[in-house]
């Protein structure tokens, strides 16, 4: 697959979704747009698009690539649309309960008694987090929060995008606002280390800059005073004013900012099944869990290490039941029978403070990037 292919697929689908007729021949995409789309994108009725710069000009085609204004407008259009959705999750197979249990390291068949299945409501919130100072880093996160729950957790973006069956609109979504608050707190925690690393790096750069500015201007003041002990005050005042201006400039440049914005909301009605699982071995016990075919997570028991009451659970070979965070650190000393699904990218970073972990989230971008690297 060429580097431009994912972009091409996105653009074709986004334009079609906005009402355009889109056909592709060779490397050229032909677009016929309705009036509303023409106005939104400032394009003519018919338009040819190419995705590789070598093809620019073929049939008067416009280039779509990172940095092109038309792509920017198409992205903005797609981001303005599709901000909420609702539907019902359907199990992909009859064995979804045992698959979910096995995936989290729980006994999947023996010792499992499956209880009643009821429809439950899950809210999926997608967020874009932007960290800016003199540079910028952004990540994308999907947070799921069960209705009326005090806890949420991050899920991979492709899981959040799983197809749903149409479901009659429930009208107002009760609990949406409070679920958003939970999702916001979850996001804050999920990005904590990432943000802290970014902030730390920014502060190191700021400190170096401030140190250099003080060293230079204060040293210059000393030199000026030494050269002309009397009558240098006006010059000194000018130097100090310049120093202060440079310091303000440095602060503006390096001061870190972290913002989050809600990209979209999805209300998912999912069959939720209660089950009782008998755990054998040293930590033998019976635990009550719930599973659903949308998140495919196992929830219910508190974390054996940190006591967290909610969120996905994983079982270590020692039969400890852990939350995602503890499972990730627990795995360092004892391998998980089934590792929790990780959506943590591994970007190259500057040296992080001791104990800092990789930034979570941004799964889509990295998946997108790696799929482009695979080549044709």
């Amino acid at each position: 697959m060429s580097e431009a292919e994912p972009l091409r697929a996105f653009v074709a689908e986004a334009l079609a979704d906005a009402g355009a007729e889109v056909t592709g021949h060779g490397g050229v995409l032909w677009v016929r747009s309705p009036e509303s789309l023409r106005q939104a994108l400032e394009i003519p009725e018919t338009l040819a698009l190419v995705f590789e710069s070598e093809r620019v000009g073929e049939f008067g085609a416009e280039l779509i690539a990172p940095g092109s204004y038309l792509l920017e407008r198409i992205l903005q259009l797609a981001m303005r649309r599709g901000r909420w959705d609702r539907g019902k999750a359907q199990p992909e197979s009859d064995r979804w309960i045992s698959e979910a249990l096995a995936g989290a390291g729980f006994p999947a068949t023996e010792g499992v008694s499956v209880g009643e299945t009821k429809d439950g409501v899950l809210f999926v919130f997608t967020f874009r987090v932007a960290l800016t100072s003199d540079e910028k880093r952004e990540t994308f996160h999907a947070i799921v929060v069960p209705a009326a729950s005090e806890a949420g957790w991050e899920i991979p973006a492709d899981l959040a995008e799983a197809p749903l069956s149409p479901f009659p609109p429930p009208g107002l979504s009760p609990g949406l606002e409070s679920a958003y608050e939970v999702a916001a707190r979850t996001l804050q925690e999920a990005t904590r280390d990432f943000v802290e690393t970014f902030r730390g790096n920014g502060l190191i750069a700021l400190e170096e800059e401030v140190h250099r500015i003080f060293g230079y201007f204060d040293g210059t003041v000393r030199e000026v005073r030494a050269a002309a002990p009397s009558g240098a005050e006006e010059v000194v005042r000018a130097i100090e004013a310049e120093r202060d201006r440079r310091l303000t400039e440095a602060l503006e440049r390096f001061e870190p900012h972290a913002t989050a914005s809600l990209c979209s909301v999805r209300t998912v009605v999912a069959p939720t099944t209660a089950a009782r699982v008998r755990m054998e071995g040293e930590l033998a016990r019976e635990v009550d869990v719930v599973v659903d075919p949308f998140t495919r997570s196992v929830r219910g028991p508190s974390c054996d290490r940190c006591g967290q009451p909610a969120g996905p659970r994983f079982v270590l070979p020692s039969r400890e039941i852990l939350c995602t965070g503890c499972a990730a650190t627990g795995a360092e000393s004892a391998p998980l029978r089934a590792r929790p699904r990780s959506d943590t990218p591994r970007p190259r970073r500057r040296a992080a403070p001791a104990g800092a972990r990789s930034p979570p989230g941004s799964t889509g971008r990295f998946r997108f990037a790696s799929s482009r690297r695979r080549g044709p």
Binding site: E189, R266, Q308
Partner: protein, 588 residues
């Protein structure tokens, strides 16, 4: 306890809490009350966000969207160093011809794509403003505009201004009152003196990132290096006295000391690519094709020149500035073709700027010009093109000349791709493609092919010669540039006993301009010009009435050019010596 992704797991407030967008509430309100755009739109929303995420400077994102920019590793490396290591504050000090402008454009574009630059200012020498705008618009799709009035400071977030204009009021206050994300200063050696208005003006600008472009950071003494670096990063080379003590090794300030340490400090702020041993442009061969004008053309040329000299002599105080400019255009056009001149003469004969006697002379000249059906120079061009099968770029400054040449060449069975500034972008692309295909000649006006790769051709014909040598250099730069693998032939057509003959004498014989790497000429002329442009100097000489006075003035200008060239060569050598290990070699 490790940080858990589950809510409420942390006992401490984050040092930098996320600021949530107030707009989120509106999304929640609509999500609860209105119909959705559908599942596909929801999925596309997420994909659009993920496609547009900014991941620091892990790689350059802009390459696919650039037009006519060949990808060179040394430029990519330079841009990434500026973005990652120098955090947007750098001196781009590549040797002439290695693409400092492209490196600056790359940095600008990368910042713009990431939303980190929304306001940018490029400060250039006056003669390079248009070239910068064309390069930024055509290659990088960055909407730069050239400063025309004081309102433009507000009006255009991407602005190009000459340093001379920008520092003067009312522009100076407007420039200083704007918060710039990025300031680029081209030919930054003009900031070598920290007591100068130039230096103080740039230092006083409110800016986040800054790029200083110069092939010769030091010209007279080491102080200049200190001043340039301190503008960018005060303290990088210590205070002034410490710098003198540590890094200056001779009383005249020309010898560096503690060179290893100095170069190490410079490496943090300076990128200097040099041509590698294996990197050499192929040779450039220059051919002169002098032409003797036909008797009719000769009479017209002399009559037009007489008119221009008469009017120029009287112009001070009587004719408006516009009339003076028209006279320059007229003199340049007659050096191009009678067809270019005829139209201007026809317009001038009706202009109230000229008196009744002058208008009568102009009407007569217009009749003479229109009566001439063929130009000797065109026949000479035709003969030259017949002599080989090579593809050739033929440049002229004027659309009327271009139209005439198209007729002449096509009548002779020579296929032509026409390219000029009035063509729509798609038609320009088509012209380049046709030339790349089966067309023999790329016939172009001054706008010809800026930012387009035409290196597949090896022959360039200057059908007429712009008086601004930088325009001649730009033409040559279309084919004789990075990526050219074959010997390039530059053919100059000029008529004997014309101002163009003077031009050839000065540029070719005195300073060997046609041997210079593209970009060097500006550095030479920059030393020469003072307040007058080369074109103005030339016109001043050409309009002298006495032939002896013209010859003497031309000799003086020639001598000044030779001095400027010698000075440039010396400065270049010195920079290479002092800055050598800061440099990275550009690959072949």
């Amino acid at each position: 306890m490790s940080a858990s992704p589950e809510a409420g797991s942390s006992s401490t407030e984050p040092a930098l809490p996320l600021a949530f967008d107030p707009e989120d509430r509106e999304v929640l309100r609509l999500a609860g009350t209105s119909a959705s755009d559908g599942a596909r739109a929801w999925r596309l929303n997420g994909r659009a966000h993920r496609l547009s995420l900014v991941q620091g400077f892990d790689r350059l994102l802009s390459w696919p969207s650039l037009r006519g920019v060949t990808r060179y590793e040394h430029q990519e490396r330079a841009a990434l160093r500026v973005l990652r290591e120098m955090r947007g504050r750098a001196i781009l000090a590549d040797e002439v011809g290695l693409g400092k402008t492209v490196e600056a454009g790359l940095v600008l574009k990368e910042y713009a794509i990431r939303g980190l630059v929304g306001r940018a200012l490029i400060l250039t020498p006056p003669g390079l403003r248009t070239q910068w705008r064309e390069e930024m618009q055509e290659k990088f799709s960055l909407p730069f505009e050239v400063l025309r009035s004081v309102q433009d400071w507000e009006r255009h977030p991407f602005l190009i201004a000459s340093l001379d204009t920008a520092k003067r009021e009312p522009h100076g206050s407007a420039a200083r009152g704007t918060a710039w994300d990025l300031v680029v200063v081209d030919e930054a050696h003009h900031l070598k003196n920290r007591e100068s208005r130039n230096w103080r003006f740039v230092a006083g600008l409110h800016k986040k990132y800054m790029l200083l472009l110069t092939a010769t950071p030091i010209q007279n003494d080491m102080d200049e290096l200190f001043n340039l670096v301190s503008l960018l990063k005060p303290g990088q080379l210590h205070t002034y006295e410490e710098f003198q003590t540590r890094y200056v090794g001779s009383p005249d300030g020309r010898m560096p000391a503690r060179v290893t340490e100095l170069r190490s400090r410079l490496r943090d702020v300076m990128v200097r690519n040099r041509r590698g041993i294996s990197f050499t442009l192929p040779p450039r061969r220059v051919h002169s094709l002098p032409v003797r004008l036909s008797p009719e053309e000769r009479r017209l040329y002399d009559d037009v020149t007489d008119f221009v000299r008469d009017a120029w002599g009287m112009s001070i105080g009587r004719l408006p500035l516009t009339a003076k400019l028209i006279l320059i255009v007229l003199q340049r056009e007659i050096g191009s073709s009678t067809f270019a001149t005829a139209r201007t003469l026809a317009k001038m004969q009706d202009s109230p700027m000229f008196g009744p006697d002058e208008r009568e002379r102009l009407a007569d000249l217009a009749r003479q010009a229109m009566a001439i059906q063929d130009n000797v120079k065109a026949s000479r061009l035709r003969d030259f093109l017949r002599s080989s099968d090579e593809k050739a770029l033929v440049f002229t400054q004027y659309l009327r000349t271009l139209e005439y040449l198209k007729r002449v060449l096509e009548a002779d069975g020579i296929t032509v791709a026409v390219y000029h500034g009035s063509l729509a972008p798609a038609a320009k692309d088509e012209a380049v493609r046709a030339f790349r295909g089966d067309r023999r000649v790329f016939l172009s006006t001054e706008a010809g092919g800026e930012g387009r790769n035409l290196q597949f051709a090896h022959t360039l014909v200057n059908y007429d010669l712009p008086w601004n040598p930088l325009r001649i250099e730009q033409r040559i730069g279309r084919v004789h540039r990075l990526g050219q693998e074959r010997e390039v032939h530059v053919v100059n057509l000029w008529a004997e006993d014309t101002v163009e003959q003077y031009l050839i004498e000065l540029l070719d014989r005195k300073i060997h301009m046609f041997e210079l790497v593209v970009g060097e000429l500006d550095l030479i002329l920059g030393d020469l010009e003072g307040r007058k442009s080369f074109e103005e100097l030339l016109m001043d000489i050409w309009t002298l009435k006495e032939a002896e006075a013209r010859r003497a003035a031309m000799q003086r200008l020639g001598a000044a050019l030779v001095r400027a060239r010698t000075q440039y060569d010396a400065v270049k050598e010195w920079n290479d010596e002092v800055l050598r290990p800061v440099s990275e070699e550009a690959p072949a």
